[in-house]
């Protein structure tokens, strides 16, 4: 330590201390110690000379440019701060004895001055490294920071936050406090880390208010009377903020920080809408951007000491406390056990797989076209696995309660899972699902009476239906017209009372009509047309018989249903159906083909 003191006089600026190869300081070894020299080393050097030197240094330190520590502070806040954190003038009012302490704390704002010409703040430039390895000026700061000495884009020697004991074999610590130039290393947008929108607003308000009524401060808390308000220095605050920011950063924010991302997107969309409607100036919601700080070490948060029982949880600043790994070792009971529980368990597992599929999809959409096939293949493979896990197979109506796929469908989350999975499946697989659902529709509708969550399937299924061929359509419709054993009603009729059921039925019919009225060749199998007309007649008959009050409003009423009925039915029936279904009437009677 002594060497440092002598060297500083060589430079002529007592504010500067040169970094030397001293033995590791207490600070470097223990992150809890912020400044081991307070009150200790300085005590040896008390004397007027030192005080004078300090005063000189303080005199010379001009109002600093904004570069020193305000990297984390938004421009608005900087304005609010006025002359940045130097508490120089006030020091004179303080007792000289406390000078060394305060000087220690305040060293950092003055430090950058010594490092060559003060740099005006520039946005991060990728080319030039800011610190050449030869650069020796710098000084030992209380905090265990390391400089980023390479350029930004590839921080090969990134800022390391060392906590806990450091091995002495590490390269000689060039400790720097975070000067602004150092901060340029972070991949922060040029306007620096922005604050949360709420934060920004409140600060602006406060700034305005502060400017307005700066005349009458509250008497109780004049600056002189509140010596504790500076207890945490700017540096320390920034350090804590940095630690927190580091903990916030993640490779996959969409997954890790889903709720904030979703909220932010919604906010963006709302503002975009407002902008369109109100014609206001474009306001972008400021985002809390975490500066990217590469973590140097990969640590094992749980350390197993050979021969000992249990684990030692290593806590660092990345994860202050990580729970001991609790691994669920319970074997899955195949035979015994609650069926419903098993279904729920399966749903959870499949859902995680589904999230991966969606993530692959999302990544794919962000990448250029060339890379799509690789992702698509991966996605299809993963989706196929889930499809296998769903265990869709043919089963009779007696076995419905035991069927694993139907059990999954009885749970709301299972329906959601299926609905979200459908867009990612291959055509045949998706069709199998549709056939299975239609085949067991009465069962599903019965089970859904309380929950009413079947409509979640409508969207993806109707999209699927819109792509079906005529033969496929007929096959599905057969499921609805086949009479059920032990039931008086046709499945078809049962759908009238269920919102999802009737919507699906209408969607199927509408697709048929669309195919018939289009120019695309239908390529029907033999018997298809008969089945089709039979179905239409059946639907018309059942619809006209069911009382209107029993008919449930569908999620979506296709507009071409009446045209469909027009092909086969008489005017009277059509009018009755029209009234019952509450379709919008056809354009004009004269135009009707029937």
């Amino acid at each position: 330590m002594l060497e440092e003191m002598e060297e500083q006089n060589d430079l002529g600026d007592p504010a500067v201390m040169r970094a030397v190869h001293s033995k590791p300081t207490l600070e470097s070894l223990d992150s809890a110690v912020l400044d081991s020299r307070i009150g200790s080393t300085w005590g040896e050097f008390e004397g007027d000379d030192l005080d004078k030197a300090i005063l000189q240094a303080l005199d010379r330190a001009p109002p600093m440019s904004h570069m020193n520590l305000d990297f984390l502070v938004s421009p608005a806040q900087r304005g609010y701060l006025g002359s940045p954190g130097l508490k120089c003038p006030d020091f004179r009012m303080m007792s000289p004895k406390s000078f060394p302490q305060r000087f220690m704390r305040q060293q950092s704002p003055m430090m950058p001055r010594s490092m060559g010409s003060p740099r005006p703040y520039t946005p991060p430039c990728r080319a030039s490294p800011l610190f050449t390895p030869n650069q020796s000026s710098g000084y030992v700061s209380p905090t265990p920071f390391r400089p980023m000495s390479r350029n930004i884009s590839t921080p090969t020697q990134p800022l390391a936050m060392h906590f806990g004991p450091m091995s002495p074999s590490l390269e000689p610590p060039l400790f720097f406090s975070p000067p602004a130039s150092c901060q340029l290393k972070f991949s922060v947008p040029s306007h620096m880390t922005q604050l949360h929108p709420q934060h920004q607003r409140i600060l602006n308000q406060r700034q305005q208010r502060g400017q307005a009524r700066s005349i009458s401060p509250k008497k109780a808390w004049s600056p002189k009377a509140d010596p504790y308000s500076g207890l945490m220095t700017r540096k320390e605050k920034d350090w804590v903020i940095k630690v927190q920011m580091m903990q916030l950063q993640s490779e996959n924010p969409h997954l890790d920080d889903y709720y904030y991302q979703a909220y932010y997107h919604r906010l963006e969309r709302k503002q975009a809408e407002e902008e369109l409607l109100g014609g206001r100036n474009k306001q972008e919601p400021p985002k809390l951007v975490t500066p990217y700080i590469q973590k140097m070490e990969i640590y094992d948060s749980v350390v197993r000491i050979a021969g000992s029982l249990g684990q030692v949880a290593v806590s660092t600043c990345y994860s202050p406390r990580r729970a001991i790994d609790a691994v669920h070792h319970a074997l899955q009971e195949e035979t015994a056990g609650n069926q419903r529980l098993r279904a729920l368990h399966r749903i959870e597992k499949m859902f995680l797989q589904l999230l991966e599929v969606e993530e692959t999809q999302r990544k794919m959409s962000l990448l250029p076209e060339e890379q799509h096939p690789r992702f698509r293949e991966k996605k299809n493979h993963e989706a196929g696995r889930i499809y296998q896990a769903l265990k869709i197979r043919a089963c009779d109506s007696e076995e419905e309660a035991e069927d694993e796929f139907l059990q999954v469908l009885c749970v709301r989350k299972g329906k959601k899972l299926t609905a979200r999975l459908l867009p990612h499946l291959a055509r045949e697989q998706a069709e199998e699902i549709l056939v299975a659902i239609t085949r067991h529709l009465p069962f599903l509708m019965r089970k859904d009476v309380l929950d009413e969550s079947l409509p979640v399937l409508y969207g993806p299924l109707s999209e699927m239906v819109g792509r079906m061929t005529f033969s496929e359509l007929i096959e599905v419709l057969q499921e609805l017209t086949r009479p059920l054993a032990g039931a008086t009603e046709l499945p078809l009729t049962m759908t009238f009372k269920n919102q999802f059921g009737i919507s699906l039925l209408y969607a199927l019919l509408s697709q048929g009509e669309r195919l018939l009225s289009s120019d695309v060749p239908l390529e029907p199998h033999s018997g298809d047309f008969e089945k089709w007309t039979d179905t239409v007649f059946l639907v018309a008959r059942e619809l006209s018989q069911v009382p209107k009050t029993a008919l449930v409003e569908p999620l979506f009423l296709p507009s071409n249903l009446l045209s469909l009925f027009c092909r086969y039915l008489d005017k009277q029936t059509i009018h009755r159906l029209e009234a019952k279904m509450e379709c919008s009437p056809l354009p004009s009677e004269a135009a009707m083909p029937c």
Binding site: Q77, K218, L231
Partner: protein, 138 residues
């Protein structure tokens, strides 16, 4: 994300000329502390100056001066800034310490009795809810 809040409370109050902000801290055991936040770290350990423990019972509240508090971060539920202007603008009525402690005792007693009745009713039906000793009290 609690980090946003911490960042908030640290980045304001940046220079001596501004007035120190009062912070309100809610602890896991249900206590409410109000004081000047002097120091904070990455674990949300707090140093509160001129702390006051505020007890709320109904529409009344009472402040017990507590001095300096050092709070371990894991016990913090939430931390917020108090708008000094709006601080006095409250429908709540401040009462003396003795009174509020008395009110609190009465409230606790009523709660205990209703709890006892509940446990009794459950016992009669053959159910028993284990005592949640480790859960946070409110």
């Amino acid at each position: 994300n609690c980090k946003h809040c911490l960042i908030f409370s640290i980045t304001t109050n940046a220079d001596l000329t501004s007035l120190p902000e009062k912070h309100l801290v809610l602890l896991r055991d249900g206590r409410t502390l109000i004081g000047y936040l002097r120091s904070i770290d990455q674990f949300a350990n707090l140093v509160l100056h001129q702390t006051v423990e505020r007890i709320h019972v109904g529409k009344k509240y009472g402040d017990i001066p507590r001095g300096i508090f050092v709070v371990r971060g894991e016990n913090v539920v939430l931390l917020g800034e108090i708008d000094l202007e709006k601080e006095s603008d409250t429908p709540l009525q401040q009462v003396s310490i003795e009174e509020i402690l008395e009110e609190q005792r009465v409230e606790q007693q009523a709660k205990q009795e209703s709890e006892k009745l509940k446990v009794q009713a459950l016992k009669e039906r053959g159910l028993s809810i284990p005592r949640a000793d480790t859960l946070d009290e409110y």
